[in-house]
């Protein structure tokens, strides 16, 4: 994807552009193209332009607040932005504005970022379709979810970075389907304060970005200790430091077996070629199977159901008719299921995480590599994928390869690695040890430089606007 952070940041500091000009370009692209994509549910043009003016004044005065200064950012509409409503893709939320920023938004503002608006989320952040948003690569396809608007907004070049949340894959799924980079950091790396939960022990906040460098820079801005979220930890890490170190000698566990199979043939081919490229760059691929991970979906939904039901209990009691029937069924099941079911899922989670840890230690791995998803973007009315003789629901297909790293809390990134025969993007997932985002970013950056997929733009993109 073009429109990365580095070019804009250099242009801002050399004086060849201004934040106001960048913001106006974003707003123009959204105005002209977003009727078709529905990536944004709300654009706050006046506040964005004012933030742009402020960033320009600060830069003129020699005050540099960091890599996102003067840069437009989209915010998933489950994240509070003061003065704007948070609707979570649901009519059950009030239309009035919230009073304060989520911690992640406060950090973005402190870093001089320009908040463009709120991006489309799947209802209650509980799904992979994100209606009515569409995919810039093919508008008869979904962008994925639940951070689908953030994926579409970055893919279309509206913004170089957008914030998403990820409970079972909701940053990496739209990143893969929209051909952008998506990073789910380690649990505890980014504060969730001011973000509507889906499942508190699985929820993560992370960036979707036009390229790996932008994702690394964005993580550096939003990461760190926050008293409002006691799970958060250390601050002050520069995630861009290791991006140029390459992959020479790194040992990569290439995932095989369930839940990383079955796959669409084009996906298997593209990820296989990506692993070959990493090997050509000096990495050492090691075949890895973790049989325990075949229980991923059961453990994931065994936790999401009760946690989501507890959080949304009043909504479910008072406005059930306004909740999608599939989500409602999950919430009802979570409301009446015995504690033993939830505890069993938590126990399974520990076993799955231990199995991943054992794989890292036994094979002396630096990272795990897999397809981000087994399939490319589905149609909005599509319910299933066919893999040979196997039929699988779209939602389960998309979540089975990403959820292992929600259950374990490990950092995982999706980086574009090619296209299927229909021209739809394919993503490769790279997962690392706890708090080793620097390693997954480093591997992704090395691959990105060799693969060059992020320089290709979709049919609907800001650079295609006729001046």
């Amino acid at each position: 994807m073009t429109g990365g952070l580095l070019d804009s940041a250099q242009a801002l500091r050399s004086g060849s552009t201004t934040s106001v000009a960048l913001t106006e370009a974003s707003l123009t692209a959204i105005e002209r193209l977003d009727d078709e994509l529905k990536a944004f549910v709300l654009v706050d043009a006046a506040a964005a332009l004012e933030a742009g003016r402020q960033a320009d004044l600060e830069l003129d005065a020699g005050r540099d607040l960091g890599p996102l200064m003067g840069i437009g950012v989209g915010i998933k509409d489950i994240v509070d932005v003061a003065g704007l409503p948070t609707r979570c893709g649901s009519t059950t939320y009030p239309a009035g504005p919230v009073r304060s920023d989520a911690s992640v938004v406060s950090r973005l503002r402190a870093g001089g970022a320009v908040i463009i608006g709120k991006t489309t989320a799947h209802e209650l952040a509980c799904g992979v379709y994100s209606a009515p948003a569409r995919n810039p690569w093919a508008t008869d396809r979904i962008p994925g979810g639940s951070s689908g608007g953030s994926g579409a907004a970055v893919a279309a070049g509206f913004v170089p970075v957008a914030i998403g949340s990820d409970t079972g894959g909701s940053v990496r799924i739209p990143a893969s389907l929209c051909g952008v980079v998506g990073l789910k950091p380690t649990y505890g790396r980014v504060s969730r304060a001011g973000v509507e939960p889906l499942s508190w022990s699985l929820d993560h906040i992370g960036p979707l970005a036009s390229d790996v460098n932008t994702a690394a820079a964005a993580l550096g801005v939003i990461a760190g200790r926050d008293d409002s979220d006691p799970t958060t930890t250390t601050t002050g890490i520069d995630f861009t430091d290791a991006l140029d170190r390459g992959v020479e000698g790194l040992r990569l566990g290439v995932m095989e077996g369930a839940p990383f199979e079955p796959l669409q043939p084009d996906v298997a081919g593209a990820v296989g070629q990506a692993v070959e490229i990493l090997a050509d760059l000096g990495a050492v691929p090691v075949r890895v199977m973790i049989p325990e991970l075949r229980h991923t979906l059961t453990a994931e939904f065994g936790i999401v159901g009760p946690e989501a039901a507890q959080y949304h209990r009043d909504r479910l009691r008072q406005m059930p008719e306004q909740i999608d029937p599939g989500i409602r069924a999950l919430l009802v099941a979570g409301s009446i299921s015995p504690a033993a079911h939830y505890l069993k899922a938590l126990e399974a989670r520990r076993v799955l995480t231990d199995a991943i840890r054992e794989a890292f230690y036994a094979s002396e791995l630096d990272a795990l590599v897999s397809p981000t998803l087994p399939a490319t973007a589905a149609r909005p009315d599509q319910e299933n994928f066919e893999y040979g003789d196997t039929t699988e629901a779209v939602t389960l297909s998309y979540v089975r390869t990403t959820a292992p790293f929600n259950l374990s809390g490990l950092p995982a990134i999706s980086v574009p690695c090619g296209f299927d025969s229909s021209g739809l993007p394919i993503g490769m997932q790279i997962a690392g040890r706890p708090f080793d985002e620097a390693m997954v970013l480093r591997i992704a950056a090395a691959y990105e430089r060799a693969g060059a997929w992020t320089t290709v733009v979709p049919p609907i993109h800001s650079t295609r606007i006729q001046q």
Partner: protein, 62 residues
């Protein structure tokens, strides 16, 4: 599949404050049975594990 009497489900729904007519005890019972079967499939994974195996937290398990 573990069957649950819809009458019992109706009581569970009532106890959970979910006595809205949109919640059909027969449908909920069928869905509950499927989810219970899924959860019970974890027994094979958990069999023979020590309490520490399934409850401890480490730096890998925040």
């Amino acid at each position: 599949m573990t069957a649950l009497d819809p009458a019992i489900v109706a009581e569970l729904l009532r106890a959970a404050g979910l006595d809205h007519p949109i919640f059909d005890p027969v449908e909920v019972a069928a869905d509950f049975a499927q989810r219970t079967t899924d959860i019970e499939s974890l027994d094979a994974l958990l069999a023979g594990r020590s309490p520490c195996d399934v409850t401890h937290r480490s730096e890998w398990q925040r």
